[in-house]
């Protein structure tokens, strides 16, 4: 259950960003989670509200964009989606590939409510 550590790190960063923007409330947090990130989106979704409680992010919606694993083939040049458990080129079958997506565990944006007074 390292999702708890992830949720804590996420809320910490959201709090920092919200303070910088003088936000009174965080409405929505958008994150990207890759299929090879080792993070269970459902666990993160259920832990986020608990960790966010009594912070500026309390009640915020957590939107998780799931990112598929993609590889770039060094033999034929194709960049394509692949199964997380098969790191290889789907076109030419080459195993000489590099991962181009799938390890993401990133915050993308946050939607804030700012008091303009």
């Amino acid at each position: 259950m390292h999702e708890l550590s992830i949720a804590q790190a996420l809320v910490e960063q959201v709090e920092g960003a919200a303070a910088k923007e003088h936000a009174i409330r965080v409405v929505r947090v958008v994150i990207a989670v890759g299929t090879l990130s080792g993070v269970d989106p459902e666990a993160l979704r259920s832990l986020f509200p608990l960790v966010a409680e009594e912070t500026v992010a309390a009640g915020a919606e957590l939107f998780i964009e799931q990112v598929a694993t993609r590889v770039r083939c060094l033999a034929c040049g194709l960049e394509a989606q692949t199964d997380a458990a098969f790191v290889g080129c789907t076109a030419c079958g080459s195993r000489d590939v590099e991962l181009s997506a799938g390890r993401e565990l990133n915050i993308k944006s946050i939607e804030l409510e700012v008091d303009e007074r």
């Binding site: 080792g38 944006s109 700012v114 007074r117």
Partner: protein, 263 residues
Amino acid sequence: MCKDCGCGGDAHVHSHDGQVHSHEHFEGNAHSHSHEHPDELPVSATAETRTVEIRQKILSRNDEQAERNRAWLKAHGVVAVNLISSPGTGKTYLLERTLEGLRDKVPCAVITGDQRTDNDARRLQGRGAPVRQIETVNSCHLDAEQVGRLLPEVAGNGVKLLFIENVGNLVCPAAFDLGETFKIALLSTTEGEDKPVKYPTLFSNAPVAVLTKMDLVPHLDWNAAACRAYLRQVRPGVFIFELSAKTGLGMEAWLDYLVKLTE
């Protein structure tokens, strides 16, 4: 992809005007649509909602500490390997034999992590290498801060090779960069040969894999060729060691490899 409108492209701005949610895509195709916020708390009259692009790693604090650890290790000429496997694969036993094998050849040190007890540290002591135990208590993995705090005392005095024995767990430790030189995934023959495809996060991120308890193969329906194929399926080009710390099978190649790492 935008959740609200399904449009592709990840760079776009959202702004709110009442219940209308407009998007301005950087490609120039601005459009708007209505958008309900059913769970929204009452918005104060003077409040304005705006979206801020952040684009940071969620674990950026851990990653920054990991980079500091990496720089420290490099500056002190230390190669650090992060050993990850499920509990019971035989990490500690392999380390016992490894420390004995490298004694007087390579100055080694160990940081070992478990939720509770210092049993592993006690097992590894007296083999010519400084050993420190991290008790993570409720946590299922080591993090960069825990390792960074111990580096100067454990790996500061001419140590060339640092083994970081992570908490026994195939999932969580894979997500936390400790600043190691690289990860080594271990898998025992009693665990089933398809673990690499079941846990690709770890096995795809470890350039070296060690298959332990090879002495048990005659007693098991364990297929070495299938296991190697699964390992290569998630990590083409993975370097595989097959050994038994108990009988010594394959230990020579493993020890030679570790010596070469530090040269």
